[in-house]
Amino acid sequence: MDITFKNVTYIYQRNSPFEHKAVDGLSFHIPSGSFVAIIGHTGSGKSTLIQHLNGLTAPSEGEVHIGDFKLTNEEKPKNMKELRSRVGVVFQYPEHQLFEETIAKDIAFGPENFGVDQKEIERRTKEVIRQVHLPEELLDRSPFDLSGGQKRRVAIAGVLAIQPEVLVLDEPTAGLDPRGQKEIMDMFYELHQQEGLTTILVTHSMEDALKYADHILILNKGKKFMEGTAVDVFSQREALQSVQLDVPEVVEFLIKFEKKIGKQIPFHNQSMKELAEEIRQVVKGVDEHE
């Protein structure tokens, strides 16, 4: 489903001393099937933005289009439930939403609410537990017996079981150990490609944005600060630093390399192997000159 924001503004607690613009005149377009990273500091409006994607909040001004659904301040889609069944949201620390006695029941909770029949639910439960790399034997256990990382996987499975077309991830790796972070991100990337999902990832990690996203949106104080491919965005180191954002290590390395060696290697999202080859070429060139 294509996602379009047209001049979206969201104001918290309007007409009170606490009035506060969380999102301010935001416009962008996300084509169906793309992997988009949204980056910004705490309070930049990321979380408010994603709540518009499945109609949890309606814009104070402007329009949000998600596929055929249209959200404005005046009109909400009548079939909100359908919108929510097609846009799955994994919130920050999703393990906090677990509540059922068994893992199977918790995973089935979403599909049940959306009226999926029992047989299909059973099939999906088995499928998603495998997708999140948990053993099927766990299904009859209580989710509260699990470790933090496992709980998170169960919660993610609960969202996947809804089989959404758009998957929204709000810092899905926060608080996990490095290995867990990589496993979870790889899992989402695999799903994104296999199922042809539109994935929207809210993250603080420039490395993740570089590695997985084909489009990056940077927010600052509720406004769009920058937008483009990883190469477009991360080539502008100074602009990013002006809003206290870092560039990925590769870009940092290339800049230092240029300073030390005096030769420039342009950043084009190269892999580690390509980069090594490029460095070899450059260094060889330097040697031959001498």
Partner: protein, 267 residues
Amino acid sequence: MNNSLIIGQYVPGNSLIHRLDPRTKITIIFFFVFIVFFANNVLSYGILVAFALTAMLTSKVPVRFIMKGLTPVWFLIIFTFILHLFVTKEGTVVFELGIFKFYSGGIIQGFAISIRFFLLILVTSLLTLTTTPIEITDGIEDMLHPLKRFKFPVHELALMMSISLRFIPTLMQETDKISKAQASRGVDFRTGPLKERVKAVVPLLVPLFISAFKRAEELAMAMEARGYQGGDNRTKLRELKVTKLDIMGYLIFILVVAILFLTRTYG
């Protein structure tokens, strides 16, 4: 999340009312609550209303914000007024509507009760609007201090109060977050038959309780790690101090009370 309820919400500021000692505010409001019931004619009610409105304007909290915050209370006030119209049968009949007769006593009583109600709510919400929860508990702790002689756990009580006040916004946020997460999984909290809506509360309450217990445990641990020990010899970061401003506050209030007793009808 709930934009309309202001009771318990603090609006930062530096007005005269904000700067009053919390004990002064609590004492004045405590007596005001009693005084309200002594007014019995137009003039005495007028004085109370003038006092409350002056306090409200001095506090510099936007009037529109307060009035909007009182919306749920307006309903109650109007309801009491209407109840009095129908139920009180004193005085003369003012007008008739079908089988209903409206008495002058009913109208007057209705007005009087509504004004009392309004004044009580307005003044008490002014307290929380202009005083931080910490100040309020510090004030209460200090005022209850004499009870310590009777082994009343004043400090523990104050601590409990400030902890619960401190965690109200946290719990509200948590509720908001979890209800949004469950709504994304297709729970409908707003529509549908009552039975379904009651059932929809379970996925909200279970996670809330779990996190509340976890939070309590973590807080206890953090307090112990930092060597918390309640009670005697514990010093305070913010010492409460009575200033000229407080004395003026008391004097003005005493004046208002005096005028009230002069103007009210006796006998």
